[in-house]
Subunit: 402 residues, 2 copies
Amino acid sequence: MLQEINAAPAPNLPFSRAEYAARIAKTRRAMEAAGVDAIIVSDPSNMAWLTGYDGWSFYVHQAVVLGMDGDPVWFGRGQDANGARRTVFMGEGDIIGYADHYVQSAERHPMQVLAAEIEKRWGGSGRIGVEMDNYWFSAAAFATLQRELPDARFADTTGLVNWQRAVKSEAELGFMRNAARLVERMHQVIFDKAEPGYRKCDLVADIYAAGLRYDEAFGFGGDYPALVPLLPSGVDASAPHLTWNDDPLQAGEGTFFEIAGVYRRYHCPLSRTVFLGKPTQTFLDAEKAVLEGMEAGLEMARAGNRCEDIANAFFAVLSRYGIVKDNRTGYSIGLSYPPDWGERTMSLRAGDRTELEPNMTFHFMTGLWMEDWGFEITESIVIGETGPELLANVPRKLFVKD
Amino acid sequence: MLQEINAAPAPNLPFSRAEYAARIAKTRRAMEAAGVDAIIVSDPSNMAWLTGYDGWSFYVHQAVVLGMDGDPVWFGRGQDANGARRTVFMGEGDIIGYADHYVQSAERHPMQVLAAEIEKRWGGSGRIGVEMDNYWFSAAAFATLQRELPDARFADTTGLVNWQRAVKSEAELGFMRNAARLVERMHQVIFDKAEPGYRKCDLVADIYAAGLRYDEAFGFGGDYPALVPLLPSGVDASAPHLTWNDDPLQAGEGTFFEIAGVYRRYHCPLSRTVFLGKPTQTFLDAEKAVLEGMEAGLEMARAGNRCEDIANAFFAVLSRYGIVKDNRTGYSIGLSYPPDWGERTMSLRAGDRTELEPNMTFHFMTGLWMEDWGFEITESIVIGETGPELLANVPRKLFVKD
C-alpha cells in the first residue's frame, strides 16, 4: 500500500523522479566522503532540491533528513505536513509532523521530536551532519539535538548539499531560462515607467507585475524572488540593501535596480542602472569601467578556469580606472528561498580557486556602492566549454532618460 | 565632531529619538532582570525596533549589541554600513562593518570580528545574552562566539527584546492603521478580480499593486510583507503555506487569501476566503462556526483577560460545531521582517496565560486547514480596556462570486 503511494508522482513535483534519485545519489557520495551516516538538512533550498518540498513554512523548525538508504524524511510542523503531501515525492511514512504546542514554545523544542525520530530510524549513536551556519538551524536547535542525542557525533555539513547543486541539469537550466524571460520583461517596464515624479512604491508594483503575470507567448507566469526588488537612488544607492519607500524619483539621480525573474523558485538575477537626466561624469566613468571589466571577466568565464579568474580579470580593469570595489563580484545561483538568491558556495573573488564546470550558473555581480552613489550592471551566466551563455538579453549599458 | 553627527537625525528614521530612548530604557530594565551586561540582538525586527536599522541584509551575519549604557552598536557587513548610516540614529563610532572576506567563508566567521569588538568595548568576561532560537543566529555563530570569548558567560535571551515590543506606542499604532488601509484595498481588488479562469500569478500581481501603490487619499504607499501572499485553492488549501502557481482559478473551489498590508515594516495581516460558484455545505458550515467563534473570542479580547481566554472562547464554539483545529489561533504582531509577521512572543492558545494589556496587537488567526479544504477569515486587533479595536474594516464573511 505504501509502495503504491510512493509510486504516484506528487501532484506538484517540478522535476522527474529520476532527477531526484540522481540528486540523492550524488549527495550520498558526498556524505560518504564526509563520513556521516545521515544529514539533517535545514536549508529550504536544499530541502526542495532533494525532495520537491515547497512552502513558506521555514519560519518554524523543519528539516529533511537523509540517511544512506531509503527515501529522505520530511520533518515539520503538523499543519505543514499537508503541504509536504502536496509537493514531495515521498510516501506518507516519510512525512513526520510535530504537534503545534512545540511551535515557539519556551518549554519544548521541535528538535526533541526530530531527535526521537532519528533515534527510532537510525539509532542514537550515528555520525550526523548538520548545517551549522544556516539561517534555519538555530543555536537552540543544535543545543537541543546535542542534549537529546548524547551518543551521536555531530559533524558540520554546512554547504554539503549546496555544493551538489552547483552544476545544473538541463531541466534546471530550462527553468532559469524561463526566469530570464521574466527579468527581461521587468527591465523593459522599468525603463518605460521610470521618470521624475514617479513614486518608487508604484515602480515596485510595476516590477512585481512584470515578474509575475502570465504571458501567453511564454506559456508561464512568475514566482516570488528570494529578495525583494532593490531600487535605491542617489545617496541611498551607496548602500546595497536598502528597500524602497514611497518617494518620487528625482531628475539628476541614478537609481540601480537589483531584481530577479523567478520561475518555480529558480532565479535569474539581473541589475541595471537608470539615470534620469544628463548623467554625471561619475556615472559615465563607472559605466565605461564596469562594461570593460565585465567583458574581461566574461572572457574568463569558461570551463577549466577558476572562480577567481573571472574576479581578477574584472578587478584588474576596475583598478586601471581607479575604482576600488572591496567586495566579491558574484556568486553561484539557482534554486532559492529567502533571504538570499545566492547558493552560498562559490564566490567570484580572489582566493576562490574552484574550477569552473559546464552548466555552473553565476550572477556576475559587478555592483559598485561608493561613498555617495551606487551603480549596478550585472549578468547571469551559464558556464560553457568555450565561454558563457548570457541567460538574459537586456542591453548592457547605463539606461538614460533625459 | 562625533557628537554633532550623533545629534543629527538619521535621514530615514521612522520614529522620534525619544521613542528609541524609551525602547532602550525598557529593554535595559529587562536585561537587568535577566542578569546580563549586554545583549547581541540578531533578529532584524529587534534591530530595527532598537535603532531604526532597515535593510535586506539579514542574509549575512549582523547584529545590534546593546550594553547597559551608551548607544547601541550596529554590526554588519562592510558594504551594509552605508545602509546603517542612512537608517540608524547612532553616530559613526557605533557603526562597525566587517571585511567582505568574512562573508560565506569556510575559513573565517563574522562573529570573530564581533567578539573582538565586544572584548574591546565591554571586556571578555561579561554575561552576554544571545538569541539562541532565532533564524539569524546560527549554531556556527554561537560556537564561534564561545570559542572567541572563552571567559564570557552566555545567557539565552531569545525573545527578550520581542517581549518589549508587545505594547505598541501611539506612533506604532498609527503605522499599523496605515497598513490596515492597504490590506482593505488588497481584499477589494481580490474580490473584484477573482473569477474562474483568472490565473493565480496575475491575482498576486494585483495584490502586490494594491498593497504597494501610492494613494493620494491615504498620502502613502506600501512596504513589502514578511510573508508573500498565500492563496491556495481546493485541496491545496488544506496546507496553510503553499505559495501560488500560474494555474487559473476554478469554479466550485474555495481559495483563502492570507495577506498583510504593510507600512514601514508594520503589518496588518487579514485573511478572507473567496468561493467561486455556489459554496458547498462544508464552507457554509465553516463560515457559521468561525464567525460565531470569532465573536466569542473578540468578546474576551480586552485588558485584564489572558491570551488563552480568547483562544478558549473561540475553540469552545468550534468544538460545538464538531470542528477540530489543532493549532494556535493567533499571535502578537507589529514590526516584522521575513520570514514571519508574528512577533514570536504571545500565542492565542490554551496555556498562554499572558495578561492582555491595552495596545497589545494580535492577528486573531482563525484559519482552518482540514483534510482536503481550507478556510480563513481573520482579524487584526488592538487590545483596549473594554474591547478590541479592529484594525481593518473588511466585511467579515465568506466572499461568494456565483
